[in-house]
Symmetry: C3
Subunit: 337 residues, 3 copies
């Protein structure tokens, strides 16, 4: 597929600088781009790459239009314009509608005739798969689960019973949705499992990463809001609620009953304790441990900075005497006064 640069400008309502008749077929980074490629530049820190690029055209912020002599499309949000243009150049691979004969679909399940069920899929009783869904090879969809229009499940995914998934979601391979929460009551030395009676309810436009696990609620449900984006190997415990448009990077973990607001971001390996409440628009840098409620929007961190192990060990040993040091300094101050 190819497009004239002018066609792209018109379709996405972008100002064109340069030759409208050049053909765009493919997308690439500034560094790798060549003939027929469109690329994009997100800021002045990429200026040298911009100046050296061989791309046929580049998407730029209007403020940078003067920095580049080649063909350009101007956008207030070059990354977004690039996302849209590259989706046009590279339409998603969609499987043909229909049910592969190796799959086992329960007689009382509903699969829309425009949905695609790949090889070795198991669809249990009373499941409802809406129009345009795509269920990849090796997936399991448990009883009474409902999957909304256009949602795509990649491969070897397990969705347990009674899960509700919205429209236009994408679930990546190996994820597990609706597994039992980690709930046990103590009896003497032993742990007695508490039945996990709730379910998982997932909104629209949600993305869930490879090998991520989201547990069903114990009583009441685990909730994933609209537009939430979750990366790989994330753990979301029972009865967690994640607000709309929040993004969670890989290896983060959320303990039970924690409630997260809207538009939050969690960098990789962040851990959030149980029963925590986090307001809207809170952001957490990598590996931060969140052990108390967050009530004020902002950026939060914990941990220490990396250093050579030899010096780190000395400082870390001193950390264990830190409270003592404060007392010493207080005494010194008093004496000096």
């Amino acid at each position: 597929m190819s497009f004239l640069l002018s066609e792209l400008a018109t379709r996405f309502d972008l100002e064109l600088k340069g030759l409208p008749e050049v053909k765009i077929r493919t997308a690439a980074s500034l560094l790798d781009a060549g003939k027929d490629d469109i690329s994009f530049c997100t800021g002045r820190r990429h200026l040298s790459e911009l100046e050296g690029t061989q791309a046929t055209a580049v998407i730029l912020h209007p403020d940078m239009a003067d920095c580049y002599g080649g063909n350009a499309l101007l956008s207030e949000n070059p990354h977004l314009a690039f996302a849209r243009i590259s989706r046009l150049l590279y339409p998603e691979r969609r499987r043909p509608a229909g049910i592969h004969p190796s799959s086992v679909v329960h007689a009382e399940a509903f699969v829309h005739h425009t949905a695609s069920i790949a090889e070795n899929v198991i669809i249990e009783k009373s499941v409802n798969i809406a129009a345009g869904c795509e269920i990849g090879a090796g997936c399991f969809v448990g009883e009474d689960t409902v999957i909304g229009e256009g949602t795509v499940l990649k491969n070897n995914i397990t969705i347990h019973h009674e899960t509700v998934v919205g429209r236009s979601c994408i679930m990546h391979s190996g994820c597990v949705i609706g597994s039992d929460g980690f709930g046990h009551a103590r009896e003497g030395d032993h742990w007695i499992p508490v039945p996990q009676l709730g379910k998982v309810v997932i909104g629209n436009d949600v993305s869930i990463g490879a090998n991520t696990a989201i547990d069903r609620g114990a009583l009441g449900d685990t909730l994933i809001g609209n537009g939430v984006k979750i990366d790989n190997l994330v753990h979301i415990a029972h009865n967690v609620s994640i607000g709309d448009d929040t993004a969670i990077a890989a290896c983060a973990g959320f303990a039970g009953s924690t409630v997260v607001g809207k538009r939050c971001t969690f960098a990789g390996q962040v851990g959030v304790a149980d029963n925590i409440s986090i307001c809207d628009d809170a952001h957490f840098t990598g590996q931060t441990a969140v052990r108390s409620d967050i009530t004020v929007p902002g950026v939060y961190s914990s941990g220490t900075l990396l250093e050579e192990t030899r010096s780190w060990l000395k400082n870390a040993t001193r950390f264990k005497q830190l409270n003592l040091l404060f007392k010493q300094v207080r005494d010194l101050t008093k004496k000096q006064a």
Copy 2:
């Protein structure tokens, strides 16, 4: 299914307060409960929820009996009583016995006639599946593995050869048991894999979370004791030994040959180094790094507390000068003396 409150009191040996003839059909939290629901209250911090609940009956500690005017069952351990009653109200979904025709069971494997083998399961040679087991769709069970009575495997689980699993265990979807340990010998710049000749031995009443991975031993076995509860996305390396009734929350990791005692608890994202020995009854808060032996029962932590990134960065920068600061304060103290 429904029960009179008096029936529940008798069956679980609990004192009844209020109307014995009310019917209980379902379970819910204090907040969500309504007609026919039983709920539970674990302490005075939930007093306002208790006072406002619409539950038909509530399970309470005897000390709180006077706080509540409605129907109640009194228990020294309300959470445990609730776990038992809700298991009665919501019996586990069990699959019918038998082998689904899409599964491949080796002629020399033994599957008890009361066990259930779901769709697309692979059972290799000399596997032994005991009475009442349930093997979910897409599971693989490797040669010579033995699975004890009543153990349930959810979906898309891989259990490698020679694994020994006890009675009444539950394994959640996507977990991998008996994968090769991460063992390599150095040859110049390269890593040469060391054959992993041991196996994984799992006790009774063990729970293993979704997408958790437990490696087989290198020489000798990886051991998971009776009653151990392991959450999602946990890593247990070769030759680790976990003592009875220890509980491990999500995203925790245990490096090779570490030995953990009984009744320990590990909160989420705790990391334990290799060849560590941890005594019984040791507890670790979230994200703690365990780099040395623990010989005294207690509660342990590491890390720093969350703060705004702006101030955190200043403090974290100072951490790298901490040993120096101690020297300065010592000098000041000396001079002042």
Copy 3:
């Protein structure tokens, strides 16, 4: 299978001490070894185990030859010699060549006649599986993927389209290769997915752990060098590049576009931020957070040391006043001067 000790000495070019005619059938640790076992000793810290061992023969460093009166093979690298001898004693279990009838192999895929395709495998269009490969039960191999000679995939693995895998690799169960990277452009409050157009390219002799996830590149590819060893539950984001012979322990995570040199080692739960550059021969202790470039080979750490929670909490509270404390000490020093 059994070997004379002299045969092992000859085959692996090791000096023999003691009886050449003893038979070796099995391998075990110094502690567990008995008749017919060969064991190994990696250093003087295992001296008491060495002295007490019942092994028929032990592999030792020449420097330790005098410490042991029994039969021995002498090697500069006992662990490596042991790895090789135990591979001889315990040849890898290989599946017979051929395609199991339950698998679905696309008519336009190529599977070498010496490769083994187990039960319920899906091989899509234009896939190329080379000689001696072994694809385990429940694996999915997407369109246009190429898998090199002798590579083994364990069970329930997903390899997405266009992935390139080298020779003699081993992928452990549940891993996911070539899932979409976590790339989204912001549009107002929402996240718009950016098509992930690159692929994953994996070298030779690579090992990938159970339930590990490696994302495809956004533009350009995610690269895993030759001889790289990756443990369980590791996350590798889009466009990351890992240099040859680097080893990554479990639960580590690498954010997008980070470039790692050769021969690095990452202990468990290490997190590396995005767009970081790490030189060759850099090493990181467990749970270290890498937030800036590493340009000098060495060993690096972050975090604090474990202590009892009660004292930890005091010190961690003081950490938040650390920058203030430095100012106080500076003032004290000035005044005293």
